[in-house]
Amino acid sequence: MSVQAPVIKDLGSSLPESVRRYTPPPRFYPVIATFALFVGMFGAGTIRYEGFSSPQVILNLFVDNAFLIVLAVGMTFVILTGGIDLSVGSVVALSTMIAASTLRAGWPAPLTIIAVLLTGSVLGLLMGLVIHYFEIQPFIVTLAGMFLARGLCYLISVESIPIKNETFTSFAMGTIEVPGGHFITPAVVISLVVLVIAAWALHMTRFGRTVYAVGGSEQSALLMGLAVARTKVGVYVISGFCSSLAGLLFSLYMLSGYSLHAVGMELDAIAAVVIGGTLLTGGSGLVLGSALGVLVLGTIQTFISFDGNLSSWWTKITIGVLLLVFVMIQRIFTRRPA
């Protein structure tokens, strides 16, 4: 056969087989880049600001961004298929509203949680169905979903509604001690559980592999006889579910429901996914990367809060620049013929 073995085969022949053969698969490269970026930024912070390297600062990245991690995980599924979901920010707001208003109406907390998660999933389902079966661009459908969810918020109430339910407040105030006298919140645990489940689903189930296949080439996936319809609709359901779960976490974080919560949060989620190394054209990326992307965004915030002189707008500019850099890298990466 004309196929040659990998060129540098005998370079490390003295090493044991398992070690010699292990190089990280190329799909990990973008995530490694994001991780390096994160470490680099954090290192810069440590050098520059006193107390930056405290473990609690790192933990706070998770505490303050737990909802965004969940949101970015859902968005990753959608973007992996080559779609986009602009509705997530609004769905977060809607979730806080539903939670706050039902709790105020005296619903028990579990029922409220179910109602919120169901609403988000159903919204995602509807958008997915329209996108797949009517072949309308995800952009415009989820834009409509964004308007719809935001409109529903206002329908519930224009005012901010505080959350006073004991289950919610105690959960919100709750902390989990970690060794070293530091703490995290239950929301962090939830977000990490979501992350692990998502990674497992993407890599260990047929559904997950089909997500990648659809993103790689929908036509091919169809001709391979894969369940394209179910997968395409499925990712929007997942994104809707994650958005509503993120909304619950956000309502815990804010302890209120408000129509103006999470305005523009879809952009943060998309930015986190892109910075995390997922191709916006679909087919390549890891949820772990998206979580790292969230941490990078969080680090930018931390930078600004540590530095009294840096203004808040540098957050946006930095995110924009990072987006640009990653989009350019991706462009070079995808242009190279396969």
Binding site: P25, P26, R27, W200, T205, R206, S217, M224, G283
Partner: protein, 519 residues
Amino acid sequence: MTQMSAAPAQATRTAEPVVEMSGVSVSFPGVKALQSVGLTLRPGEVHALMGENGAGKSTLIKALTGVYSIDEGTIIVGGEPRTFSGPAESQAAGISTVYQEINLCTNLTVAENMLLGREPRSFGRIDTREMNRRAGSVLARLGVDIEPRSLLGSHPIAIQQLVAIARAVDIDAELLILDEPTSSLDADEVVKLFEVMRTLRDEGVAIVFVSHFLDQVFEISDRMTVLRNGRLVGEYVTADTTQLQLVQAMIGRELETLEKIERQAEQNTVRATGTPLMEVLDLGRKGSVEAVDLQVFEGEVIGVAGLLGSGRTELARLLFGADAADHGDIQLRARRTKLRTPRQAIDQKIAFSSENRRSEGVIGDLSIADNMVLALQASRGWLRPLPAKTKERLVTQYIDALDIRPTDPHALMRNLSGGNQQKVLLARWLITEPELLILDEPTRGIDIGAKAQIQQLVADLAQQGVSVVFISAELEEVLRLSDRLVVMRDRRKIDERSNDDVSVADVLEIIAGEVRDDA
């Protein structure tokens, strides 16, 4: 219509056909793509499916695999009449298809591509280790030495093709359909592919092989079914058939309903003398055309003959800059020129009408008038719009001259018939007053009246001093119009001769490769 040849020696051991299609018709709005076509596939045989563009090969394959539903006819698979509602169902029945444009996902690993949708699982999760092992063993069986865990996209096309076949093999296919698998492979890779095909054949798999390379077909196939214009021409045993017979069956001789067009070329005194309008030397592009030399003189019609995939279209695209050549020289009017974009060619008074009318010519949602002036307008730039009067004059003139229906210049292009669309596209180029007009299959799929008009037009243009490169699958047409004849085969120019008393039979022989030396 079907002419069954005597049973081949090899197939006597197998009685029951894997697939038997008979009387199959498929129609699309306005088009009868297949009319009463039959196909019989036996285990342990490679069966070539042959025909020119539009003959209905891919429609037949898609009818079999359930991508299209059939209007009439029966499909018997494994002795039972079946109708498949989609590729998934036909796959389940043991029919696997490997398409020309490889339908795999380059962003996944080799093993994943082979087993996607059928991944081995344990405890509800995909057993990656088992998956890689299984993929590896199938690859080993086919003699393909690649790492199952590597990304598919990191391998050359040829390997991807073999992975696609490996995927099909893993399904335990009884029938493997290979739709032009060799079109992007080089000679070594083809050898490898054939080895794999033979291995599978000897294991009893029935294989359908679609290819435009005659040598390959004769090398690998046991039988051939030939289609033409959506109809069955016949089934042949390869060993008993010559290349010439096959080419004749594929191209056919159209009934001479066209009135004989006087060959005006003979009065052309300037032909093949003086400085050529265009001269190319060693022009080529990897994977499309190998080094071609060609001279085009003023007022000369050069006919290009050759089967689909022979490089005839690819050559035309290089001459127009639609694809950039990666080697060779182009001289226009004795000056060296680079043609890297269509725009450069248009500025040099070259025009090109593509064979893919729909995807590379027609702007469906614009009017006839806009479609006609597009090329001229593009070269003027947007700031200098064609004056309304000029535009109207040109448009009505050409609607009239080319007898375009409807005559309303504001009618939308997409509502026109194929023949009228083609005339509008010709008008688009004639309006630019080209000195070299490259026509790739300008008469394909259009009615006989429009065809005659277009042929007449070409003759008139040459008379007026326009040089024409005329490409067509219909040899009568090429011979009728051209002053000089270029024959392409296997991406090379294999013959060039002046068109004096060349007969269709001569050309068929050249294409079939049976005449190698000539004057």
